[in-house]
Structures are given as C-alpha cells and as structure tokens.
C-alpha cells in the first residue's frame, strides 16, 4: 500500500519520536524536514560566498554581500514564522494574498514603480526596493494549490478520474495565471511569465487537470509570448537577448557578448576552478551581471566543475526533500503547495544555469538562493518555510 509505505517514510524522517507514544506535540524543529533545512541553509551560505567573490571581496566598497546577509536573515526569519504556522491557514487568506499581489503588480506600473534595465518591476517601499513579480510566484503557487485542491470536504471515490478538478476550478486557475502573466508582461518582465506558466503546468499536471487544459495552457502561453514578441511590447534589446542565443558569435561585443563571456568563464574554470576570488573573468569584470543573473558562471569559473555540480547537488537535495514532503502529505492542498514550489524552483534553476551554459536563451530569471536580490531570496526562503509548515502540520 502506498499509504503505509509513506507513513513509514514519514516516521523515518521525523526523527526519534516513536509512533504511538504521544508525549505532547514535538517541537517545530523536530517536525521539520532536517535535510531540507540543511540544504536551504547551505545554499544560502554558498550564495553569500559567491556574491562576495563576484563583487570583489569584503573591501571592495560594494555592499551587495552585506545587503544579501540582511535579506537572508530576514528571509530566514520569515520562513521560520511561516513554518511555525499551520499552512492550512493560507486557504482562508488566499483572496487577500492574490488581490494584494495583483494590486502590487498594478502599483508597479503606476508612477510608484521603478524601471531597471528596460524592465518595470520594482516598487520602492521606504528604504526597501521590492520586486512584486517574485512574491507573485509564491502567490500563484498558493492560489493554484487552493483552487485545484478542491474543497477540503470533498470526497470522490471509485471514479476513473477520482481527483479531476471541476471545470470551474480549472477556469479559475487559468484566469489566475493569465491575470498575473498579463500584469507582469505589462512591466515587460518576460522571465517571470515563463515561471508562472511552468508552475501552472506542474500544478495542473499534478492536480490531474485533463490534458486538454494543460495543452491549452501551453498554447496560450506560446500565443501570449508570440504576441508580446511581435507587438512591440518588448524592447528590441529584450528580443535580442532571446534571439542572440541562436547565434551568440554573430555579434561578440553586442548582446551575445554576455553569453560568450559566461561560457568563457565557465569553460576556463576547468575541473576544480580558478579558486575562490581568483577567477579573472569575474574579478576583472568581464562577466556581466555576475552577482545576479550570471552568478552560476562565477561559481563555474572559480570553483570549477566540482563546485558547479556541488551547487546543483544542493539544489537537487532541496528539490528532492520538497517532493518527499509532498508525497508524505495526505492533504491535497499541502501536496500541491509543495509541488508548485518544486516546479517554481526547478524551472528557475534549470533556466538560469541553462542560460549560463548556453543551453537556453537569456532571461532575467535569478538562480534561487544564490543570485543577489532580496525579493527573490525572501520568496525562495518563505517557499521553503511553507514546505516545512506542510511537513510540520500535516
């Protein structure tokens, strides 16, 4: 039985507390997934070191590292809070979360928003500059999980497709994805749209949405993107970033320059790398966006194949544990929450790393836990907090 094997697994994972000996509720830490915690903490530390190296060390006069430390601490704290609360509470908060996110995305487009590198995606709140599109990824995951999990009282037994959501829910889910995608596209942030689509696909597939809807999602995603590409919504430079992928050597000093420099950095890293703080491509500034989008190239140059694969292994560990938590969860909402977070992280990791090794075109998608950027880091950490909450409160 699937059920019993999962319980056994959960028992193994949840440490010493033996089944049946209920001596009060075990502590939050005891109920959390330790390997997931460990993986996340290691990734954040890895990222901090990489940012330090990519920005010239402690005495460079740049404050990326210290700011990222603050983000990590804040994110970690937020994650703990989230983990300590029962995730089921979210089902009552879905409406404010989705509406709030939508409003934030609208605000970005208002004069309150800020444009960086052709993308209108930032809101200045006091001293903090936030990127709502990052938080929107999580909001989407929560919203989709809520919609597609169905009502908690729902019982479906003995049917051929016991977990197929009702058409109204599928429509609502598509509407949610569409709304967020349109708002983000209006700010010309193509990268996040891909994430939303992929998260949508993942959650749809896992929630048992019929294939025709999944295909509909894929088609409409492609259509929206094609329209955006041809309608002049995207700046030429943004289009070039994508098309240049096809022929990076055509204009080595132009857009393709970034990817060529990234490849050069990774390639010259070799098996064991040039050494931390020693990569010439990174240290002499040849690598573009080296503390954000291209930080994987810095790692590849300075720590080599071993370092890059080590980093991917940590990411793999985190992804694996998320899936384990999801599988151990009987609650569909909790499971879909985990699945959404899993697909969100998986897509971003693959897309970001793939772009630096020229497997995929350039988009402004950060490498989770590693790239510099407060909104992205906090989002990733809160996402882990949510998974821990699922682990602790099922």
């Amino acid at each position: 039985m699937i059920h019993s094997s999962l319980t056994e697994q959960a028992a193994k994972l949840h440490g010493p507390a033996p089944m049946g000996t209920q001596v009060g509720k075990p502590s939050l830490f005891a109920r959390m997934d330790k390997l997931l915690l460990l993986g996340a903490v290691l990734l954040v530390c890895f990222g901090l070191v990489a940012i330090l190296s990519a920005t010239g060390g402690l005495n460079s006069g740049q404050n990326f590292f210290s700011r990222q430390v603050v983000f990590a601490v804040a994110g970690g704290f937020a994650a703990l809070v989230v983990a300590s609360l029962p995730y089921q509470m979210l089902r009552n908060l879905v409406t404010p979360i989705v509406v709030g996110t939508g409003l934030a995305l609208v605000l970005v487009l208002s004069p309150l928003g800020t444009t960086q590198r052709g993308t209108r995606g930032w809101l200045d709140i006091g001293p903090v500059r936030v990127q709502p599109a990052e938080f929107a990824k999580l909001a989407l995951v929560i919203g989709l999980a809520h919609i597609l999990a169905g009502s908690s009282s729902r019982r479906i037994r003995g049917k051929a497709t016991p977990d197929e959501p009702e058409p109204a829910r599928i429509t609502a889910a598509l509407g949610l994805i569409g709304m967020l995608a349109v708002l983000v596209l209006a700010g010309r942030e193509t990268g996040s749209v891909f994430v939303y689509c992929f998260v949508g696909l993942g959650v749809f597939a896992m929630a048992g949405v019929p294939k025709r809807f999944v295909i509909l999602l894929i088609i409409s995603g492609i259509t929206v993107f094609t329209l955006a590409f041809t309608s002049g919504l995207l700046e030429d430079e943004q289009k070039e970033r994508i098309t240049s992928f096809l022929d990076a050597d055509a204009d080595p000093r132009g857009i393709g320059y970034n990817q060529r420099q990234s490849l050069t950095a990774i390639g010259s890293g070799g098996l064991t790398g040039q050494g931390l703080f020693e990569g010439p491509q990174t240290q002499y500034g040849y690598l573009p966006e080296q503390q954000t989008d291209f930080i994987f190239a810095t790692i590849g140059e300075e720590l080599g194949f071993v370092g890059a694969v080590g980093l991917l292994a940590l990411h793999g560990l985190v992804l694996w544990r998320i899936l384990v938590v999801a599988q151990a969860t009987e609650d569909r909402f909790g499971a879909l929450l985990c699945v959404g977070i899993f697909t969100m992280l998986l897509f971003q990791i693959v897309q970001n790393a793939g772009m630096t090794v020229r497997l995929l075109p350039i988009t402004g998608i950060p490498l989770p836990f590693i790239s510099y950027g407060g909104s992205a880091l906090v989002t990733s950490l809160v996402a882990i907090g949510l998974v821990q909450s699922v682990a602790a409160h099922r």
């Binding site: 019982r155 590849g300 694969v309 569909r332």
Partner: protein
C-alpha cells in the same frame, strides 16, 4: 479522507527534474572538462592587449649643438577606439559630451564633434590610443581620475618644440600626426620596428620629413592584461622597450640663419622704399631667399626663405587664421624658395655664357667689344623688335670679357648668344646650355631636403618635346636666335633655384669641384648621444675647367665688387681683408618689378662661402641683393658679430610674418607720403634711382603661359 496524488505523477516530476539536471551536468562536463583549453585561451585573449606607446622623437640640433627642434612632455587625454567601439553610439556621444565639457571647464577648448572626428579617424581595428587633447591642466587629470570615463585615459606624451620659432622653419619643416589607420598602414611598409599608429608624430616637411625614420623612436610594445572596462591591470610582457629617436645635427648655424633671415627681411623692406621707374610696377619686396653654402664641402650654412611660418603652429592643429595665412597667402609661406623657388637668373648667368665663349674659342677674353648700349640682330637689321638693349641703355664703350662681367654689359653677351646660334654648325645647338649644365643648372643639386626643384635649362630639343606633348599649352616649336640671345644673359625660359645659383658659383670658386649640398652634419644616438654617422662631403662633379676662361671670369667677378656693378654695395667692405667676387643680376619678369639678384663667393683668395641672394620685385641687383649679400659676407667673414638668434619666447617681430608685412606696408606708405610732401615743396624726390628705360621685349613671342606662371609663382 482526501485522495492522495498518485505516485506515478510524482515519478514523472522526478524524472523531469533528473533529466534536466543530467543535461545541465552533461553540458558542464563538456565545457569544463572536455573543452577547458579552448576557453582558457579565450579568457586570456579576452583580457590581453597589445599596447604601443610612441617613443620620444629625436632632436634636431644646429652646428653648435643648439636645440632647433626639441621635445617636451605633455599631459594628454587619449581615447581608446577599441573600448569605445564596444559601446552604443548614444552612450559614446554622451561620453564625448562629458569629456568635452570637462575639458572646456578647465580651459581646453574642445568640441564633442572634434572628439567624434578623432574617434572616427582612429577606426580600423587599431589597438592604439589616440590623443584627444594635449597640455591639459592638472585639474582635468584629477577630475578624470575621480570620475573615469569609459575609453578615455590620461597619459604623458612627448610633443615637439621649436625653441627658435620660425627661424629656419623651411629647413626644419614641421610635424603633423598620422591621420588614420589607413595612412599608418601605408607608412608601415617602411620599417616594421618603428610602426606608425594614428595620432603619432610624422614629419611633413623639411628635415622632419626627409629624416623622419631617423628621428622617429622605436615605440614601446607591451602586452598588457586589461579589465573589462579597459583598465590596464598589469604588463604581461614587454615585447620592445621604447627607444628614443636619433638626434640630427645640421650644418646650419642658427645664429647665421637668423642673420640671413633678418637681412632678407630688412633688404626687402628697404627695397620698397626705393621708387621704381615711372610706369614700372612698384617694388613689392614681399618675398625672397638667401642661400649660403660652404664651398669646401657643400654643407649649407644658411638658407633663408621669406615669408616663413612657425612650425609650432602645426602642433596643436592650425587655427583658422593660421590656416588662411599659410594656405591662401599668395606669397606662399610654405615654399622653401631656397630650393623650390624658380627664378630667372638674369645677369648672374653671364659667367657661364662667358665660359662657353672662351671654352669654344668663340671670343678671346681680351678681345674688345664696343658696347653701344643696344644690339641689333644681324638677321633682321631693320626690325625694331630685333633690337636688344642694355639695362638702362647705358653705353659702356669698349669692354673686354672682364669688363663685360664686372660692368654687366648685356650687348657683349647678346652678340655671343647670337653667334652661338647662327654658327651652331660650329658650336653646336646648345653651347651655352652645355656650359650651364656643367655648373649644375637644369638639374637637382641633390641637397638632403625634400621638394627640390631642378629649374629649367631650355634647349631647342626641350622646346620641341614640350610642343609635341601639348601644342596648345606650348605653341612655340622653333628655337629662335632671340631665345639664344635671351639665354645669354639668363633670361627667357631659363629658371634657376637660389641653391643652384649658390652652388654654381661655389664651383667657380673651387675651379671645378661641385659638391652635393648637405644640411645633415651628424646623426647622434638618441640614448647615448654618440655619433652614429658623420656625413662625408659628396662631390657631384669634378671638372677640369678651361683655365683661361676661369681666369677671365674670376677677374670679372672680382671687378664687379671693386669697380663694377656691385662696387657701391661693397664700397665699405674691406676687400683687402676679405675679397668677395660676385655678380649682380636684375631679372625681368613680365608685369612685375625686377627681381634683384646677387651671387658671389669669398674670400676670393681662398674661397670658403658661396652666397646667392634673390629678392622678388625688389629692383636692381646692385640696389637690394648686392647689399644683402655684402651683409651676409660681413657675418660669414666674422667682420661683424653674428646676432644671437632669439628664442621664440622672446618678443620677435620676425616670428609673425603677417605683422612684418604690415609693418613693411606702413613704412612704404610713410615713404610715399614723404615723397609727395617733398614734391609739393618743389624738391626733387629724395631717393635718386636711375630711371632705366623699360626693357625691350625679346624677339620671340612672349613666353608660354605655363612658364610665365612658373616665373611669377616660383
């Protein structure tokens, strides 16, 4: 109980993740393990660049070791084409604007469009930086250090200096910069070690041009490691150390050169004060040349050409007024009249006709000729057009060859000219020309300066050649008796350069040895100042001349300064200490005042220097060129102390030719007023100048337009 999500779906998700990670790791393996060397190479090539830095240019020194062309360091703003070309056009424009405003704020006038031009010219894959502004103040240095702009840097650069301003400018020449990569490419055929890059100094005239490869240093060639923003991080390899260019020592003495230039200007000014004959063109006295050579080795000791220019004007780029002065001025300040000016020789040519006469036994030197002031050609006794007159129609009476030279009898030589042509079966068609060619006319002297003219030695054959090449331009095919008659006194189609003239008289003085004139004395190693090369006298021709003819010519030339045409000019000159032999010349140029000439050498007893002076539109040779040459011999003989050439930093009217000309015009106006005033008072004009009859037109038709043009605009 909620239905759990089926494990099959989880498996799908796991498989997807594993496949994705496997592909990523596979690509990493390919990049980092299989193709590392390729990328390492790319990474190194990415951040190393070749940098060439111009080495200091060699100096030009005078015979006494004074620096005529030196060098100094300048703080220079440079742009880096490679770095800037990586930017978007708008970004570049923004940076150019910022740099221009930064420079303007500190007083260095720069327009961003000029920077754009410099950038455009540097195009062509050059790896060299190009200077945008020289001599920027320190504050710019500080400003750019605080706020660096992409593609711009500050360096120290060597720049040319000309301490004596325009003195000797025509000999020194000037430097400009290599325009663009294309020009550099062309130049680089010369010498690979001394590669040129856009913006490098390049000699464009005079010694700077001819000896550019000697003066040019070997640029430093470094391989450097650079950051993405083009900061130089470290030197990987010094491929070639900078080697300063070699120094050049000239035979010119700058003080003597100054004396020659001063004499030239002053005599030109003086000439304007003398009234020309009625209905004659007024003395303009706007241009001229004095050339002095050492007859014992051919070295040039002074070569003055007026008007002149300041070579320093070219260093920072010409201003509009400077460019107008240099390029639109009809007096052509660029022209080094000493070796590029083409002039009718006038009577200074007579010794060579005389040489032909004696050498071909046409007329004995002692034979007496009756000078009646005019001479009619035998073949057309009745035609007034066939009558040739002495200057001023003066009747000299009975003259032999010596007198004919010293008193400058035209009719004596007219008759020789006619005889040579009418009896050409005996003397050959080119009796006079052969003698002239013997003394170097019609050919380059071979002086080591660029743009030397070879003059014109007209012959019947040349006339036919010209006619056949372009009958419209050269309508005359036949050589007439009148042509020979004109040639006998240095008129007609004959054109000489002052240097040719000085060198031909030097050959008279040496009794047959003609040297190739040289301005180069020594080449010194740029680092050690050791002598690398000392130029040896180069004999261009060594002839055993007809001694009878030479004796007669020497007597005639000695007579000219003692009792002949130049006696007045040399009246005060101590001939017993330093005898000067020479010949005046008054050359006629259609539509202009006479050109004043003198050529001579001294001391006649043991010749050392030969001097030729030509003053355009300055009247009789005896009035202007003879006194000018006498002054030169005062300096050359040491009888009068040579003035010290002033440095350009001192106030010096000579340094600004425009001003000099203005002063001269003012002086002329004052003199005219004075004369008019005197006339009103019933007094005779103060300046008593013999009023010669206007010269009679020669028999042949007027000279072809091209030749006239050449005469007027040498």
């Amino acid at each position: 109980m909620i239905e759990p999500i089926s494990e099959r779906r989880y498996n799908n998700l796991q498989v997807l993740a594993i496949v994705c990670f496997a592909v990523l790791i596979g690509k990493l393996w390919f990049l980092q393990v299989l193709s590392t060397p390729t990328f390492e190479e790319a990474a190194v090539g990415n951040r190393t660049r070749e940098i060439f830095t111009e080495a200091p240019r060699g100096r030009i020194l005078d015979a006494q070791g004074r620096v005529l062309a030196g060098r100094r360091e300048s703080l220079t703003v440079e742009l880096d084409w490679t770095a800037l070309s990586a930017l978007e056009a708008e970004e570049r424009t923004d940076i150019f604007l910022s740099i221009a405003s930064e420079l303007n704020a500190s007083g260095v006038k720069t327009r961003s469009v000029d920077i754009q031009k410099v950038y455009d010219r540097a195009r062509g894959g050059s790896v060299q930086t190009v200077s945008v502004a020289d001599d920027v103040p320190r504050q710019v240095w500080v400003a750019l250090q605080e706020r660096p702009y992409v593609g711009f840097s500050l360096t120290r650069q060597w720049l040319r200096t000309y301490p004596y301003g325009n003195i000797g400018a025509h000999i020194l020449g000037y430097v400009g910069t290599v325009r663009d990569a294309e020009q550099a490419q062309t130049l680089n055929g010369i010498n690979d070690a001394k590669r040129y890059f856009p913006g490098d100094e390049l000699g464009l005239a005079g010694v700077e041009k001819l000896f550019d490869q000697t003066l040019r240093g070997t640029p430093e060639h470094r391989l450097v490691e650079i950051a993405a923003d083009n900061r130089v991080l470290s030197t990987v390899e010094v491929v070639q150390e900078a080697v300063p260019g070699d120094d050049i020592v000239l035979s010119i003495d700058i003080n003597l050169q100054y004396a020659a230039e001063l004499t030239l200007v002053q005599e030109l000014a003086q000439s304007r004060l003398r009234t020309a004959c009625e209905d004659c063109p007024a003395h303009q006295g706007r241009a001229g040349s004095i050339v002095a050579v050492d007859v014992t080795d051919g070295s040039v000791v002074a070569m003055a050409s007026f008007p002149s220019y300041d070579p320093a004007d070219f260093l920072g780029g010409l201003s509009q007024s400077q460019a107008d002065y240099l390029f639109k001025n009809e007096d052509r300040p660029f022209l080094n009249r000493g070796l590029s000016g083409r002039y009718p020789a006038g009577s200074t040519f007579k010794p060579f006709t005389a040489y032909a006469s004696v050498n071909l036994d046409a007329r004995e030197p002692d034979e007496i000729w009756l000078d009646e002031g005019k001479y009619k050609l035998a073949e057309c006794e009745e035609d007034e057009r066939c009558t040739f007159r002495n200057a001023g129609s003066i009747e000299l009476g009975e003259v032999d060859m010596r007198d004919a030279l010293s008193k400058s009898s035209d009719t004596y030589f007219y008759s020789l000219g006619e005889m040579f042509w009418t009896e050409r079966d005996e003397f050959g068609e080119t009796a006079i020309q052969d003698a002239a060619a013997l003394f170097g006319f019609g050919q380059q002297t071979g002086v080591d300066l660029p743009n030397e003219d070879q003059g014109v030695l007209p012959t019947p054959a040349r006339r036919i050649d010209l006619y056949e090449s372009d009958p419209d331009k050269f309508p005359r095919r036949t050589w007439f008796t009148g042509d020979n008659v004109n040639l006998s006194i240095g008129q007609g189609d004959l054109l000489v350069t002052p240097l040719q003239l000085a060198n031909s008289y030097a050959m008279i003085s040496t009794n047959g040895v003609r040297y190739q004139p040289q301005v180069l004395s020594q080449i010194l190693d740029g680092e050690t100042s050791e002598v690398i090369r000392t130029s040896q006298p180069k004999i261009a021709a060594q002839e055993s001349l007809n001694s009878q003819a030479m004796r007669a010519i020497m007597d005639g030339l000695n007579g000219a300064t003692s009792l002949g045409t130049a006696a007045e000019a040399f009246a005060e000159f101590p001939a017993w200490v330093y005898p000067v032999a020479g010949k005046t010349g008054t050359a006629q140029v259609a539509g202009k005042a006479d050109y004043s000439l003198f050529a001579g050498f001294g001391p006649a007893s043991k010749p050392k220097y030969s001097v030729a002076t030509i003053l355009e539109e300055a009247g009789f040779g005896s009035d202007a060129a003879a006194p000018a040459t006498r002054r030169m011999f005062e300096y050359l003989s040491g009888l009068v102390e040579v003035p010290a050439a002033p440095l350009a930093t001192e106030a010096l009217p000579l340094s600004v030719d425009v001003e000099v000309l203005a002063i001269l015009d003012e002086l002329a106006r004052l003199a005219e007023e004075e004369a008019a005033e005197a006339e009103a008072n019933g007094e005779p004009p103060p300046v008593s100048v013999p009023l010669p009859e206007p010269p009679v037109a020669p028999v042949p038709e007027p000279e072809p337009a091209a030749e006239v043009e050449a005469t007027q605009e040498p």
